[in-house]
């Protein structure tokens, strides 16, 4: 891809706005269409664009599979952990009312946290699936399961 100057420059220009847009969809999801799943896919698409233009190896160096494994798991833990915090504060599982003194704020925080967990897991898993497909045919030692 070294010779495709246009592609490389456009990709460089686009990747950062795509990530910003993903964050917008993520954190504005409770007021407008969007949310964790959509944001996660958009974020992953930025990484996939990076891999398509600069090579999978470069992306793997920037976002190693071992990190994805941890972030994918952490996302689930953030989701379930939010529910458990509600339980520990006296409510039912995922009863956001108990997250803050004001139930309206509680619902707001709860939704943001849960969606953040979803986004994190979705972005990590979509990228990891892309790595697996892109990495087919390499020697097994290179894989990170």
């Amino acid at each position: 891809m070294q010779e495709h100057t246009v592609l490389r420059i456009i990709a460089k220009l686009l990747i950062a706005p795509i990530i910003i847009f993903a964050l917008y969809v993520q954190f504005h999801g409770d007021y407008s269409p969007g949310g964790g799943f959509q944001a996660g896919v958009i974020l992953a698409s930025a990484l996939i664009l990076h891999a398509l233009v600069f090579g999978v190896q470069a992306t793997r160096r920037a976002v190693p599979p071992a990190v994805l494994r941890v972030t994918a798991s952490l996302g689930v833990l953030i989701y379930a952990g939010t529910g458990v915090i509600c339980m520990l504060r006296g409510g039912a599982f995922l009863d956001y009312d108990y997250l803050a003194h004001n139930p309206v704020h509680g619902q707001h925080y709860g939704l943001l946290l849960v969606e953040f967990g979803v986004g994190m897991t979705v972005a990590s898993v979509v990228t990891a699936i892309f790595y697996v497909f892109a990495g087919r045919g390499r020697q097994p030692g290179e894989h990170e399961d």
Partner: protein
């Protein structure tokens, strides 16, 4: 705080495995992942036991997720029926966790072992979720959670054919899941709600529309696929044969039972027995299919050379007994179905554990490979013999209790032919179990085959013999079990009417 947690038990059984699975992935090593899996499995089993006791006293435990009152929010409902299934699933998970360490270390590459533990926890989460949920759509979601986890578990089997059999299961399982979803969609169209109790109430006026009848048909076919009811069982033999041994143990003992549980739950709690069995011929259809399953499964088992595959075909036959009891749609029939769900879990768990231990020793488990093992692995082989006797229905074992209860249920309604079919199928079981036992005890190892000595590791034996002991205990003191299952069946019929 403790009292607080006591009220949270219905949701804890679901979310503890859900949270433990990512922890296993983060831990990334076999030993910590196994420790997490074992600890969580036993804790969940303990909670399930408390829930079981609670339902014995209170009858029903409900929990509104997120504080949203049903029918708008998702509701978890544990009654006497689901409490018994819950106890079976979590108990098997706890015993499998003891068994899994040595078995998985021998069958899988070290760096993959943590994934098995994580996926087993997700599978547990899905199965438990299906059992405790009171929401139709939520049941579908948990079915998919458990199914996806089991596809990946089967694919991790030691031979390359595991991938193909997992793919077969993936296709069939997805068809089954989709049918279930379509059926639930039809119900939603007619009632505008997803809460099972609420659907049941709103169905009163519209029960005899084609939409609802089609919904029932889709749900029955979809769940029969997951339950491997004849003739939708094609995925099962390969899946059980090529999965890692401890996965075979866990899935064979729980997964199909939970599918049947979900079917019973839909038919009796949501649709009501009147619609399914009086207006529609569900009972007749299921009786024919279950008899076909009993006979064809047992016949096919006789001609298998691989012992795991033999047990898998036997599972197809045993699902016939369970569905037959359910198809009678009487209190006695349901009691028999639930009793055999539990007992078959205990029997198949013990048998698959014994075969897994032989595989651990020999790295193969065809009838020829295990010839003469009786002298070299006495405890494992004895466990197989007792499990086999229980499968046949020998007096003093759990299998006898199930068959006795089922025969009683058939006799009451004068189904003599069906009773005869059960006896024939049991005789066929004598043949296929007899073939394995003959090879274990009365044949010499093949010439030139290296003679492996020594018993399986202690933890594997402990898990296997716990199940064997449970088989005998149920066989000797079956009245307590049948009493519990009868109460459960009655509570279900009470809700359904």
């Amino acid at each position: 705080m403790i009292v607080q947690l006591f009220h949270q038990m219905p949701v804890l059984v679901v979310i503890l495995p859900l949270m433990a699975a990512p922890l296993c992935v983060i831990a990334h090593r076999a030993l910590p992942a196994w420790l997490i899996h074992t600890a969580v499995s036993w804790v969940v089993f303990g909670i399930s036991f408390l829930l079981f006791v609670e339902t014995r006293v209170a009858g029903r435990v409900v929990y509104a997720l997120g504080g949203w009152a049903p029918p708008f929010g998702i509701e978890l409902v544990i009654d006497r029926f689901s409490a018994i299934v819950l106890l079976l699933v979590t108990g098997m998970s706890a015993l499998t966790s003891l068994y899994a360490r040595a078995s998985i270390a021998a069958e899988l590459p070290r760096e993959r072992a943590y994934l098995v533990y994580a996926a087993m926890l997700l599978c547990l989460c899905g199965l438990v979720g299906m059992t405790v949920t009171g929401d139709a759509f939520n049941l579908f979601v948990f079915l998919e959670v458990s199914s996806l986890a089991s596809y990946s578990l089967i694919a991790m089997g030691p031979s390359r054919r595991a991938l193909l059999s997992s793919f077969q299961y993936l296709i069939m399982g997805t068809v089954g899941g989709t049918f279930l979803l379509i059926g639930i969609g039809f119900l939603y169209v007619m009632t505008g709600t997803l809460n099972m109790a609420d659907i049941a109430q709103r169905l009163q006026g519209v029960a005899h529309t084609h939409t609802v009848e089609a919904g029932l048909a889709f749900i029955v076919v979809g769940l029969s696929l997951k339950a491997a009811l004849f003739p939708l069982h094609a995925w099962l033999p390969n899946a059980y044969t090529y999965a890692p041994s401890s996965v075979s143990v866990f899935i064979a003992a729980t997964s199909t039972k939970v599918a049947v549980y979900a079917l019973i739950r839909f038919v009796f709690t949501v649709f009501g027995a009147d619609l399914a069995f009086d207006s529609l011929p569900l009972g007749d259809v299921l009786i024919v299919l279950s008899v076909a399953a009993m006979l064809s499964g047992s016949l096919a088992a006789i001609f298998q050379t691989d012992v795991k595959r033999l047990l898998a075909w036997s599972s197809v036959a045993q699902m016939g007994y369970i569905v037959l009891g359910f198809a009678l749609a009487t209190g006695a029939g349901l009691t028999a179905a639930l009793t055999h769900m539990v007992n078959h879990g205990l029997i198949k768990g013990a048998l698959f554990m014994a075969v897994g231990a032989m595989f651990w020793r020999m790295q193969a488990c065809s009838i020829n490979d295990i010839a003469g093992l009786g002298k070299r692995m006495p405890w494992t082989c004895a466990a197989f013999v007792v499990g086999g006797l229980s499968l046949i229905g020998f007096p003093g074992t759990a299998g006898f209790i199930s068959k006795w209860v089922l025969l009683q249920a058939l006799m009451v309604d004068h189904h003599w032919l069906l009773a005869a079919a059960i006896l024939v199928s049991s005789l066929l079981a004598v043949i296929y179990i007899g073939r394995v036992v003959e090879s274990l005890y009365f044949r010499e190892p093949a010439e030139g085959r290296k003679v492996a000595r020594g018993e399986a590791p202690a933890l594997m034996l402990v898990a296997t013999w716990t199940l064997v002991a449970l088989n005998i205990a149920v066989g000797l003191f079956g009245a307590a079990e049948v009493d519990a299952t009868r109460q459960a069946a009655m509570s279900l019929l009470g809700v359904g009417q």
